[in-house]
Symmetry: C2
């Protein structure tokens, strides 16, 4: 498999549907007409043996997951589309069809979310590496939701459910055994996370004051948000929304569900803050953007040492102050 | 060394000098006011054991080289500044100071070339990986020089000298022994390539019809250009400009200098095509942009099977048709 074959493959697999993309794969750089005066860019890298194992994910899942993680950063800024650039480091022995599966799956996610894969880079690497750069556009930088806008009195909410990805990995690892359907559903939370682009955009419009996506786990990510905002997020473990099967998975893992939900990571849901007055507008906006999703209020922003704390007395995390 | 320490380091090491960068390191994504209606983006990845060995380069050189290679793609489009995003995959055992050296050196090159490192990603990796995304801006997409504009009759030129990087690597490998000063100078061609940003911009303004940077070697890269343009680049090996010490290095390696110059790769010079009528304007533009640099005409564009051919009878590459 030569690089050039793969680059030709890229041109074939990637649909250049967006008229804004003037030059793409096959030149030194891609040329894109910006859809706004400001660009919003993030890079996210997934490394074999660190972020995934090839034995546990299909090539399609590796491609989906890498792009989903990168797009999730755009979602957390309130941006809902843009371009992506895939940099692949491929070990010897990776077959043409496997790489095409990876790229094809990323392309499918891109097409479904209105994102254009406009270029990339393919190189040899001893370790499989998928690094994705995503760029969104806006004319109003004030509409971008950053991490530092949370104010005392704000509510703290999360989209969807938490802990599913960690439980799905436990299923893959053989540390948890569940009925087929539950196992499949949790496994999918790990292998095919969904970037919350439409919901992120809706939250931004509905008045979110600060937002972050949950890649490292709520305890860490909410800590980042609190630190950036100079405020404390006081969260209740017992309120964290969890998916079906999580309670049983946690029983087998001997952890409290709230703990797995707070520390599991890689759920790629959004944690957002909003003024109390915006509560019902925010709730409606989320459900309108994605009827299958709701927001759950899990705590509030208070004055105090910046960071996050959990107030639930039923957990070992009680009184835990995550200063990050 | 925790990731967060390093991210804090990034904020310290990277000077946010550019007022266009509104948000950067420390949020989910960087927010940048575009300096033009069109963005030009490229990704370039360097992997330990594939593109370099840690035993042969300092941390500063690894950082410089990765950013230089990425910026070289912008140079080849005729863009001369922009933003860069560094994605680092760091093995266990890499020390804080080593990583700071890598980032600091990239930052020094960025500052010197008017580029802003606006964000990035740091993750663990079994192999050291430095992936760099660069984005330039322009209001006139017609001013961007792509690979497909070469026309029969055009002259083909290269900036600087070729083969120095390959010879420098041979010095590092111990395959070549040279006097100290020559060895140092060739080694620097390998370890600290210079992206030809100002010269690339000048070539674009002076009427270059097509351009590519020489990362894989002239034989391959000129082949890409010919193929994209649907024309043949007929080049003369004997005309390829070579740096001091190359003849002696080639004697020790038992290769013809022109061959090493054509196939060595990683010189990061520019190969450009221009109409005969623009010859003197192009020559003057290069020297004005960089008094230390000149352009050497190495052949012409002809009708024929798209690709590149070398017409020099003194070489094993004589008559070689590099169809890519």
């Amino acid at each position: 498999m030569r690089e050039l074959e793969l680059i030709n493959d890229l041109s074939r697999l990637l649909a250049r549907e967006d008229a804004r993309v003037i030059r793409w794969v096959g030149d030194d750089a891609a040329v894109v007409r910006a859809a706004g005066a400001y660009s919003v860019t993030s890079v996210d890298t997934m490394v074999e043996g660190v972020h995934f194992r090839r034995s546990q994910l299909s090539w399609a899942e590796i491609g989906h997951r890498a792009l989903a993680a990168a797009l999730s950063d755009l979602a957390a800024m309130g941006l809902d589309r843009g371009e992506a650039y895939l940099a692949l480091g491929l070990p010897e022995g990776v077959e043409h069809g496997e790489c095409a599966e990876l790229i094809g799956s990323a392309q499918a996610l891109a097409a479904r979310t209105g994102c254009t894969i406009a270029g990339g880079d393919i190189t040899r690497s001893p370790t499989l590496v998928v690094s994705v750069t995503v760029t969104g556009h806006t004319d109003d930088p004030g509409s971008v939701v950053t991490r530092d806008g949370a104010r005392p009195g704000d509510l703290v909410g999360v989209t969807g459910t938490l802990g599913g990805s960690a439980a799905g990995l436990a299923v893959l690892d053989g540390r948890v055994r569940l009925a087929d359907e539950l196992a499949r559903s949790l496994r999918a939370r790990y292998s095919r996370p969904e970037p919350r682009l439409a919901v992120g955009r809706a939250l931004a419009k509905a008045g979110a004051t600060a937002m972050i996506d949950l890649s490292d786990g709520l305890a860490t990510d909410a800590g980042h948000l609190g630190l950036a905002s100079g405020a404390r997020l006081e969260l209740e473990l017992g309120r964290l929304p969890t998916p079906g099967g999580l309670a049983e998975a946690c029983r087998q893992l001997s952890v409290v569900p709230g703990e797995l939900a707070a520390t599991g990571g890689e759920d790629y849901e959004l944690c957002t803050c909003a003024p109390l007055s915006a509560r019902s507008v925010v709730e409606a906006a989320v459900t309108q953007a994605d009827p299958a999703l709701r927001i759950t209020w899990i705590g509030r922003v208070i004055q105090g040492e910046p960071g996050v704390s959990f107030s639930d007395a039923t957990s070992r995390l009680a009184g835990f102050e995550h200063a990050v």
